[in-house]
């Protein structure tokens, strides 16, 4: 009664749709093109790993926003407040765990970072829940009001952070064993960036699994395409909205911890500083597309590092140039979501 093997068997005889590899090829081409321009393979490796680390942190921050944008059609310009919250929570947690962060052993160091990440995600997720209920829900479907009220929410959030932690820059030093770099010949790969790459890849894998293999993920993907039809099939999309918003906020909090450690200091405006970058990433990737967000973030990370080395003045606007180039090629982004 409960087995559906026959359709799958029948379908094996028909061609499947091809996976679009062009954006991934473009990413590889960008990295390979930089090699002769940089000249030194060891410098290229250092810059590439740094770019991948930066890209994966940006992906973690932006992935929640692209789902919020795609599923809820909400222009959340207040996403930065969750990044800042995560980073500041990390300063408190890691200061409170000084014994672990100052330890020369890797395990306590990783433990402190793990606890900081968990706390940041919990706090940012809880604030995201309140933010969605109080600030975003009344302005569903009203883009101009969304921009105004979410930016206002971010300003209020930043001021609350200043009240709690003070307006000054707070150092967020790396734990002992994550300082320095691994040396491979002349190539130096910072230890922390390896950790950032691993965390970023784990988040990406979990997101792909949830979105591709679970019914909740299926509902999110369907909701990104046609919210009205999801409701017509009998699902309460408001609950899905709240859930996605909370997860998006928690991911921004996680990204805030990684970004703060990446810069080794945090300021209340840390979220606002990366806001433009994450909007560029989700536009490049295609609104609502997780894979697009991933590839777009890596492109942004790599280009920022290569341009910073080759032509520092160009680095200031390299990401804007990348966005223009990608949109001229694919106006809907690298992996456009159908029906939007």
């Amino acid at each position: 009664m409960n087995t559906t093997t026959m359709p799958a068997a029948a379908a094996s005889a028909i061609p499947k749709a091809r996976f679009d590899v062009k954006p991934l090829a473009l990413l590889a081409a960008l990295a390979l093109l930089a090699l002769p321009l940089i000249g030194s393979p060891s410098t290229w490796i250092t810059l590439t790993v740094a770019g991948l680390a930066m890209g994966l942190i940006v992906f973690i921050i932006a992935s929640g926003l692209t789902l919020v944008f795609g599923l809820m059609d909400v222009l959340n310009f207040g996403h930065g407040v969750f990044i800042a919250t995560g980073a500041f929570v990390a300063t408190s947690v890691m200061a409170g765990m000084a014994g672990w962060t100052m330890s020369p052993q890797l395990l306590p160091n990783l433990g402190a970072i793990f606890v900081a990440m968990l706390a940041a995600m919990l706090v940012a997720g809880a604030i995201g829940f309140a933010f969605e209920r109080v600030i975003v829900r009344p302005v569903y479907g009203q883009h101009l009001k969304q921009i105004l009220i979410t930016m206002g929410g971010m300003i209020v959030g930043e001021e609350i952070i200043k009240v709690i932690w003070g307006p000054q820059q707070i150092p967020l030093p790396l734990p002992e064993s994550l300082r320095g770099a691994f040396l491979f010949g002349d190539a130096a790969i910072e230890k922390y960036r390896v950790l950032a790459v691993v965390v970023g890849l784990v988040v990406f894998a979990v997101m792909l699994w949830v979105l591709g293999r679970t019914k909740v993920g299926l509902l999110v993907r369907a909701g990104v395409q046609d919210r009205e039809m999801v409701e017509s099939l009998g699902y309460r999309i408001e609950r899905l909205f709240t859930g996605v918003f909370v997860v998006g906020s928690a991911l921004a909090g996680l990204g805030g911890v990684l970004w703060g450690l990446y810069q080794q200091s945090v300021v209340p405006q840390i979220g606002a500083q990366v806001n433009i970058l994450i909007f560029i990433v989700i536009i490049i990737g295609g609104l609502g597309s997780t894979l697009g967000c991933f590839v777009g973030a890596l492109m942004v990370g790599l280009l920022a590092n290569y341009a910073g080395f080759l032509a520092p003045k160009v680095a200031l606007f390299s990401n804007i140039g990348l966005m223009v180039a990608v949109l001229l090629w694919r106006p809907q982004g690298l992996y456009p979501v159908t029906n939007r």
């Binding site: 009664m1 559906t4 026959m6 379908a11 028909i14 019914k215 369907a222 395409q225 046609d226 039809m229």
Partner: protein, 244 residues
């Protein structure tokens, strides 16, 4: 025959526009009720108002004796109403399997879908079995329409609301669709069908309601309307015979 769905004096506003002006309609259980009318008469708005996608600003909508007008769309769907919109509402990036899995609310995985029901559905639309793992966006127009209807019937529903299923389809595909809907009708399904194709209306309809300017201006048996060219001219501005 008892009315499964009943609309009494339903008004709908969309922004500043007053679209439905007091719709009265009955859908008898076990019958196919055709909702006919010119473009802009309010047929699609009536279906969307029943589904709660646009709120009725006035009037009463009863389904199995239970008022629907205060419920939200998911609750209306859970009450047992399947909806196939004019746009089909296919999730193009999802496969046929994933589209049907979403429609089967009780199933967490495709393996959980009731196989007998699924085979029954494939009986109407065999192409869906063939394209089970294919992205829905790659299907032909006719196959998409079949998927849209299959989605509405993959779990038992007391009432189906189907909006212009023949729109944009080639005549041969429309004939297949008529055959499939006839099969559904033979299973005593209750359907409220909006249609501009009069061949389809005549082939499928038991009862009919004709709308004009946001109101139902005629209710009766489909066969009577099909046999009365004068009535067709008066209500619809054309003759069924011309379209056969």
């Amino acid at each position: 025959m008892t009315a499964l769905l009943q609309l009494q004096g339903v008004h709908t506003h969309i922004g500043a526009y007053h679209i439905l002006h007091g719709v009265d309609l009955e859908v008898p259980e076990g019958e196919v009720t055709m909702l006919l009318g010119r473009n802009g008469a309010g047929k699609s708005t009536t279906l969307r108002t029943i589904m709660g996608l646009w709120r009725a600003s006035q009037g009463r909508i009863d389904f199995k004796g239970r008022p629907l007008q205060t419920l939200h769309t998911p609750e209306i769907a859970q009450a047992g109403i399947g909806y196939v919109p004019e746009t089909m509402g296919i999730f193009s990036d999802l496969t046929v399997r994933e589209n049907l899995l979403l429609a089967a609310r009780q199933a967490r995985r495709a393996e959980d879908i009731d196989t007998r029901r699924l085979e029954w559905t494939f009986g109407f639309f065999p192409a869906l079995k063939k394209f089970w793992l294919f992205p829905a966006g790659k299907l032909s127009g006719g196959q998409k329409q079949m998927l849209a209807i299959a989605r509405a019937i993959v779990e038992p529903r007391a009432l189906l609301l189907i909006d212009e299923p023949s729109k944009g389809l080639a005549p041969s595909i429309v004939n297949n669709l008529i055959a499939a809907l006839r099969e559904l009708k033979a299973q005593s399904s209750t359907i409220l069908l909006v249609e501009q194709n009069f061949q389809m209306a005549k082939a499928l309809g038991d009862s009919v309601a004709v709308m004009d300017d946001g109101r139902v201006v005629h209710r009766g048996r489909m066969a009577e309307l099909a046999d009365d060219e004068g009535l067709q001219q008066r209500l619809l501005g054309l003759s069924l015979g011309v379209h056969q």
